[in-house]
Structures are given as structure tokens and as C-alpha cells.
Symmetry: C2
Subunit: 406 residues, 2 copies
Amino acid sequence: MTIPDLSQLDAADPLAHKREAFELPADTIYLDGNSLGAMPKAVPARLHEVVTGEWAQHLIRSWTRNAEAAQDWMALPDRVSVKIARLIGARPDEVAVGDSTSVNTFKVLAAAVRMNAQRPVLLTDAENFPTDLYVTQGLNALLGGTLEIRRVPADEIAAHPEQHLTPEVGVLLLTEVDYRTGRKLDMGQITAQAQAQGILTVWDLAHSAGAFAVDLNGCHADFAIGCGYKFLNGGPGAPAFLFVAQRHHDAAPSFLSGWMGHADPFEMAREYVPAPGARRYVVGTPQVLGLSALDTALDVFADVDLGQLRAKSLSLTDTFIALMEPLTGQYPLELVTPLDHEQRGSQVSYRHPQAQQVMKKLIERGIIGDFRTPDILRFGFTPLYHSHADVGRAVEGIRSVLEQTK
Amino acid sequence: MTIPDLSQLDAADPLAHKREAFELPADTIYLDGNSLGAMPKAVPARLHEVVTGEWAQHLIRSWTRNAEAAQDWMALPDRVSVKIARLIGARPDEVAVGDSTSVNTFKVLAAAVRMNAQRPVLLTDAENFPTDLYVTQGLNALLGGTLEIRRVPADEIAAHPEQHLTPEVGVLLLTEVDYRTGRKLDMGQITAQAQAQGILTVWDLAHSAGAFAVDLNGCHADFAIGCGYKFLNGGPGAPAFLFVAQRHHDAAPSFLSGWMGHADPFEMAREYVPAPGARRYVVGTPQVLGLSALDTALDVFADVDLGQLRAKSLSLTDTFIALMEPLTGQYPLELVTPLDHEQRGSQVSYRHPQAQQVMKKLIERGIIGDFRTPDILRFGFTPLYHSHADVGRAVEGIRSVLEQTK
């Protein structure tokens, strides 16, 4: 690998101006936007208006105020869905925004399991993010243990689909980008292989949405879920989203059936009649504060070319890997993120025997990444607010900490 | 009834100073705090600090920052639980805060149904708030229709418990205060009658918590759920809460099992191990913005004597009923809220054949109540921010609108 010219890369960066849209603390290189995205500068003013204007002054009327312009709180989940839909290759009516990723995972898994009820196996990645695994366990417990939760490493499923995508499997739950290694699966290929065997797919896009262009409909995906507070920068505990392909809208049940997913909430009918499309997966009263922050945060993406977003993400991670490469020879550092662009998300991770201690020292120096048990150093790159110069400074800091930790 | 002396009542009101804690629009009498509570003045500054300080500057570190003082985001749901527990007669570890009321209803109903699995009937009020009914339907659909959802008017259940609290009933779901009529059930008596028959109770406290002192443990309640945005003033779509009695902590399953309800979330274990107590019902990543607003809103209650809160609520509704009484003779207005204090929440409702039109005109005059289909005029009274003078002005406006509507 050649040492890249950082200033030249930054000078040619068409997204460099986007950094101005974010508030970032001084003396910090924040490489943890895949855990909590940085704050878009427009958020505080929006929240102030929501609480002092919409809530304090207009009070209950805000639920229906300006409904003709779709600016009412009732339509807020749908307004956010429109913005997320563009980033994930979906139609707006295929997306529902609200609740947490975990709760949304429950909703779509329960629907998918029911739609393929004659097949008892729910197949998932043995190394999946814990909440995905826990949700499969809770759902199965509620269903009286009638499912078999089968856990196989995702790389093994991808390598030998003929062994794992078998007729007893009803639902396949995978996370597109692994939260530790940053390894990106081929969503289109695996979806096609699964569907050829009659399997419904559920894709967790926690580390995908907002990091690069996702193309759910291009991949003919069935269901997906994703997170509002990582690369979408919606704030701590931001509302999450889910996706249900239009072809499933008639058949997909909504078992978490609340009044805001009813076809006519204020009719106050006794019988649940699901709203059309994904809106039926909006359950209780929408969390207006969190939705408003996320709504404003998504405006940063409005004029972003998603091809440029991906190109910059790869340029940042390529640069980081290249600058780190000499260190892997000097220190007990092992790259676990794929070099192949097709298999890489927007993070780079290394194993190190003292990873927890190394990350603690890095954070003390203002280089904020993440430690993931047992031995992973994780560095997330957000193409909207990182420069190649940031990458260079981060590697200098890492070198210094590794030297101290020897 | 005698006409009360409003200024004398206000002069003797020990909670009169609490009005200063709320922002209320000028030229408005807001009688809809049972739909969306008014904004406590301290909320905007708290939210500003959360977004510009905790989020923007401390970023991911806020999840564990100041953990030794329990001021970390991880402990935020528990901090709010402590404040709600005092208002509902619960221990802090019996309360979990987060998600919506609808989602929490699903959680506790699923647990209760499983704990009494040999009894197939889930009994609820035929006139219950729609989302309670819808959640029973969704849960039953997920369980393959193995439950019988039996709907009987709550007044009929209360009048003839021996006919309805029968051995095939496993779970009884009731709302303590009816959202249309304001009728309050005897939670202690009904709970005892149900438990004597081996039935688990789930109480919906949407129109109770923050309106008057609820005493869940005094009533020996099993499960409860409640709303953060009505009398708790937590803001639009605020996080909701649930209650699980301590004696059920070992047996109550958490089927919506997410990583934040795990005994050790950052262990990232593959197997779900529930956290102790009600914390296991915290599912996904806590919604920090909504929780922070609710946390600050609850501080208004910190020095409030809950006996005084109830006394003032009854004084406000008594006053309203007394002043409205002459109008019921002149206009087609029928009081549907019980006169008996023991049977009254913190609202007063009337039937009127043109209720929707009357409420529309009232709102145009700045008297904001609620229309509830088909013919209910609903007026909510919040003892923390209403005066008896407000009640007098509201009745004058209602008189004028009724005269126009004749």
C-alpha cells in the first residue's frame, strides 16, 4: 500500500462542507458515530421550537395542526419515513419509524415467522448483535418454544448456503454489517438464495443506513430494521425504523397492534383494523421529541449523493487501513475488517490482546472509538463529518498509545 | 348545590403556587391535560443541556459518565422510575420506564397470560380505551387465537363480580379511570375480588398517575401500565411506564427481551439473562430525549403532598359540576361523571347531541377540552395548574357556546 496524501484527498472531497452541519467537541477525534452519531447543529433550535412552540403554546392541537400540509404530529412518523426511505432504497409506505430497534425486530420477526409458520426454524448469525439474539429468544418463549432458533456464523451461511438455507428454515435474520468486524454481507445474493428456498429474510441495517446507500428493493428484501442514532445521527435512543416490502403488505400481520397503527385512530373503534402499508407498525403515541430530532438530523442527507457518501467512506477506511498497516507489524494488532470493498461497512476493527486498556487510553487522549468484548478495537468513520486529516491524526494517537502499552 | 366562592377557594389552595412551574398560553383555559399535559417551564433548559452538552460534547461517554452518581444515561430509566414509583405507591424496582403505553401493555399482558396459562380468558372492559383492546387482539393473534378475549362493561364487572370473575378467567385488564366518563373504579376491591378467584390483574393508570395518589401496593396490584404525557406532563409521546409487583419478579417473563433489559448489557452475551426486577422490561436503547423531559417534568411533583393533590382535584371538579348544574336544565347536557368522590377521576364529562360542534366552538374561544366520539364533551382538571377562577371562566365560555348552539 502507498501512503495516501491526506490533504490532497481532503481537497478533492465533495462532502467536506458537510462537517459544518455537525457540532463536534474540540480536541477530539470522534470515531464512534456507529455507536452514537454526532449532533447536527440544527437539532437544538428544532427541539426548542417543538417544546416551547408546538407543545407549550399549541398543546394538544399540534396533533392535527397544519394537517393539510402534513405538518401535524400525527404525520410526523410518516414524514421521517420519507427521508429514511431514500437512504435505504424503499418506498415511503414500506417504512415505519418509531419504537426501538429491539421492539421493531420483534414486530417484523413475529410477522415473518407467522407468514412462514409451516417452517419451524429461525436461522440467524451466531455472532449477531446480542439484542437480535435476545429478541429471537423472547419471541420463541412467547410462542411456547415452537420455533427452533438456529445459530450459525453468518460467514458460514454465506459460504455454504446450500447447507444452511434448507426447507425447514422459515426466516433468516442477518445483520448486514457485523458490529465488531465491520464485515458487510452481500444482501442481494443472500436474499436471492434464501428466497429461492422459500425463506423470508429480515435484514438488520443498524450499521448500514446512513453509512452507504442501501438498496432494499434492489435486493428484493422482505423485511428490515434499523437504528436512528448511529449513522442517521438522530440522537441518543432515537426512534428506530422498520421496512416491510410492499408485496407483503396484505399478508404481513401487526401483532403489536396499537391505536396509532389503526386505519382510523380517532374513530376509537373497538376492533383493530390495520392502517395501510407499514404505518400499521406504528404502535403507540409517536415520541414527538425523538422523532423531531431525527427528522431534523436527516435533513443533512437531503442533498447528499449516496454514491459520493460510499466513495468517501471507503476512502476514509482505506486511508486508515493503509496508515495503520505498518503498526500491525510492530504491535500485536490484527486487522479483522475485510480489505475487499464489497465486504466492508464504514468501520475498521483490530484485535489486540489489551484492547480494553488501549481504548481507555485512546479515549483519554480524545480519540474516541469503541472496545467490544473480548479484544476488539473498533473505529467508525462517518463520511459526513470526518476528513482524511482526522484519520491521520487518529493513527498518530493510536501509534503513541500502542507504544505506551507494549 | 351551593355556588362556591371561587376566590376564597383559590386563596386557600396550598398548591396555587405550582401554576408558576408551567408554561401556559395566554387567553386559553386548557382543560385537556388528560390528553397532553402542559409544559413544565424547566423542560426547555434541560433538553438544551441534554443535546448541546450530554449529546454534542460528551457523546457516547454520556452512557456511562457520572455512573458513580447514577447520573449516566444507562441509569436514566431507573431515575425516572424512582419518581414515578412515589406517585403510584410502588417500589422503584417494581417500575420500568420506556416505550409507549401500548407496547408496555403488550409486555405485561403477555407475562400475565403466561403466568396463568391454564386459564384461557382475558377479561377486559368492553368500553376500554381502544389501544388496550387492540393490544389484546394482537397478542391473541400472535398466540394463535388460544385466548378468549372477553369484553364486558367495567361497571357490570364491578357490579356483579361473582358472574364475571370466574375460574376460566386468567387475566383481568381494566382502566382505573374511564377516558370518556371519568368514572373511577375501586382498584383495591376489584383486585381483591379477582385475586380471590386466582385472577391476575393489569391496571391501566393512564388517567390516574399524577392526577391523584395511586396506591398499587396498598391495593396489592399485580401489574399496571401508565402514560407519561397526560398528568405526568412528560411531553408529546413521552415514555410510558409499567409496574410488576415484587412478588412476581421471579416468575414474570419478559418476552420483549432486548439488550437493555439484560442483567449485563455490555457483556454482550449470546443468551438473554433478565435484569433483576422491572428493569428487565426496559427493552432497547432508552429514548434519552423523551426520558430527560419526563425526568424534569416529574420534579414538579417532588414537594407535592398527594393528599392535597387529590383534595384540589376534587375541589376543581366539584366546583365545575356545581357551576355547570344550572346549564344542564337549560341545554341538552347530561353529566356522565359520577358525583361520588370515590368514583371520580380528575375530569368531568357531559353528553351533548352536538358535542363535536360545541367543542369546536369552545376551542375557537380558547377553552380547550376534548370531544370523544360519539357525543362526549370532556374537561380535564390538573390540580397543579388550574385555579377555581379558571373553572369559573370556563363555565362562562361554555354557557355562551351552548347558547349559540341551541
